[in-house]
Amino acid sequence: MKHLTDEELMLQIASGKLEQLTILFERYNVRMYNFFNKMVHNKMVSEDLTQDVFIKVIKYRTSYKSGNFAAWIYTIARNIFSSHYQKTKKERSNLIDDDTLSANETLVSESNQEELDHLQKALLQLSNSDRELIVMHRFQQIKYEQIAQIIDSTENAVKVKVHRAIKKLKEIYFQTEI
C-alpha cells in the first residue's frame, strides 16, 4: 500500500476506501500544519485547520478527478485559510498590531531562534497572497509549475511573483531589524 502514489491513493479514497487516507495523512499532515503555522502563526489553530483539510478531503473526495493531488490538497488548504481569515478578521487585526509592536522591540537578533522569530514576524506583515507564495515555494519546496496550478496562474507569472514577495520580505526583515 505504501508504494502507491498520492493520486492512486486518493482515487481509492474517492471510491470508498476511506482507510487509505491514513497514508495521505502521514505524507501531508506536517506540510499542511507548517503551511498554516506560517500563515497564522498559531500552533493550536494550525492543528485545527490541518484537521479541517482532511475532513474536507473526505467530504469532497468524489470531486477529485485524478489531477495532481498536492495541488488539490493545497487548494483545499488555501480555501480553509481564506475562510479562517475572513472569520477572524477582527481578532486578527488586533493580534498583528501586537506583533508589530513586539517586533519593533526586538532589535538585536543574535541567535538562530531569534532570527527565525523575527522572520516569522516579518512574514506576518506580508499580504496573504505574498506570504502564501513564500510559504509554498521556500518552506514547502513546491515547484513553480505546481504553485501555478494551485493559485491558477502561469509558471512565469509565479516566478516573478515569488521573487517580488521575497524582495518585499527581505525589505521588511531588514527594516525592522535595524
Binding site: E19, K43, F54, R138, K159, F174
Partner: protein, 249 residues
C-alpha cells in the same frame, strides 16, 4: 536588459532555475555592476536565513483527532454506501416484487379458499339439517339438496339414509323425489329397489313405483310382482303396480 528585470531574476539565478541564455545575461551584468553584486549577496544571505527554517512537527493531538475523525467517517460511510450502490436498487426492486407476489398470492389463496369453504359450509349445513329433529327442517334440507348440481356421494348417502330410516313419511317422500334426479347413479337405483321391498307406507310405495317405472329399472320387476302377490298390499297400490309393470315388461 533593464535593471529591474535583472533584479527580478536574481533569486532565480541563485536557485539555478534560469535558462542558459538568461544565466549568461545575469552573469555579464553582475560583472559590470557593483550594486547588483551587493544585492545578490544580500539576497543570498537572506535566502539562507529563509532556508534555515525547519518544518515543525505538530503535536500528537493532530494524529489523535485525525484517527478519531477517520474512524467516525468510516462508520458513517457504511449505510450511505449501501444506499448508493445500484445493487441495492436491484434488491429494492426484488423486495417490492416479492411483496407484490405475497399480497397477490394471499389474495388469490383467500379467494380460492373462501369458495372452497363456502361449498364445504353449505354441504355441512345441509348434512346437519338432514339430521335435525324437526321434520320440516329435514324436508327443507332435502329440497335444498337440489341445488347441488354435482353428484355428491356424501349428500346422496344422507338422502338415501333419510329414504330408508326417517320416521316421517313426508321426509321419506321428499327424499325419494330428490333422489329421482340422480337416478342414473347405481347407488340410487339400488336404494329405490330396496326401499320398494321394505317400505310399508303406501304413499312411499306409490312414489317409488312411479320413479322405478320412469327410470325403466328392470330389476324392480321381481319385487313388484312379489308386492302384487302380497295380501297386505292395499288395492290402489296394486292397481298402480299393474299399471307400471306393463310399462316395464
Amino acid at each position: 536588459m533593464k535593471q529591474n528585470d535583472i533584479t527580478n531574476k536574481l533569486s532565480l539565478y541563485l536557485e539555478g532555475s534560469l535558462s542558459n541564455g538568461d544565466k549568461i545575461d545575469v552573469e555579464n551584468q553582475l560583472k559590470n555592476s557593483e550594486t547588483l553584486r551587493k544585492e545578490l549577496e544580500e539576497l543570498n544571505s537572506f535566502l539562507n536565513i529563509l532556508n534555515s527554517e525547519k518544518m515543525e512537527t505538530p503535536s500528537a493531538n493532530l494524529q489523535l483527532s485525525f484517527d478519531k475523525m477517520l474512524a467516525q467517517e468510516i462508520e458513517n460511510q457504511q449505510p450511505k454506501v449501501v444506499q448508493l450502490k445500484p445493487k441495492t436498487d436491484w434488491k429494492q426492486f426484488l423486495r417490492i416484487a416479492a411483496s407484490i407476489v405475497i399480497v397477490l398470492s394471499a389474495f388469490l389463496l383467500g379467494k380460492y379458499q373462501s369458495n372452497e369453504s363456502k361449498v364445504n359450509n353449505n354441504q355441512n349445513q345441509v348434512l346437519a339439517l338432514l339430521e335435525n329433529n324437526s321434520a320440516s327442517k329435514r324436508i327443507e334440507a332435502v329440497i335444498s339438496t337440489e341445488d347441488f348440481s354435482i353428484k355428491d356421494t356424501k349428500i346422496l348417502k344422507a338422502l338415501i339414509n333419510r329414504l330408508f330410516f326417517d320416521k316421517n313419511t313426508n321426509v321419506r317422500l321428499a327424499a325419494a323425489e330428490a333422489l329421482s334426479k340422480f337416478s342414473e347413479e347405481k347407488m340410487v337405483r339400488d336404494a329405490f329397489i330396496k326401499s320398494l321391498e321394505t317400505d310399508k307406507n303406501p304413499t312411499i310405495q306409490l312414489e317409488v313405483i312411479q320413479i322405478l317405472s320412469d327410470i325403466q329399472e328392470k330389476r324392480a320387476i321381481k319385487p313388484m310382482e312379489k308386492m302384487l302377490d302380497n295380501e297386505e298390499t292395499p288395492q290402489y297400490v296394486k292397481q298402480q303396480l299393474k299399471l307400471n309393470l306393463s310399462s316395464l315388461l
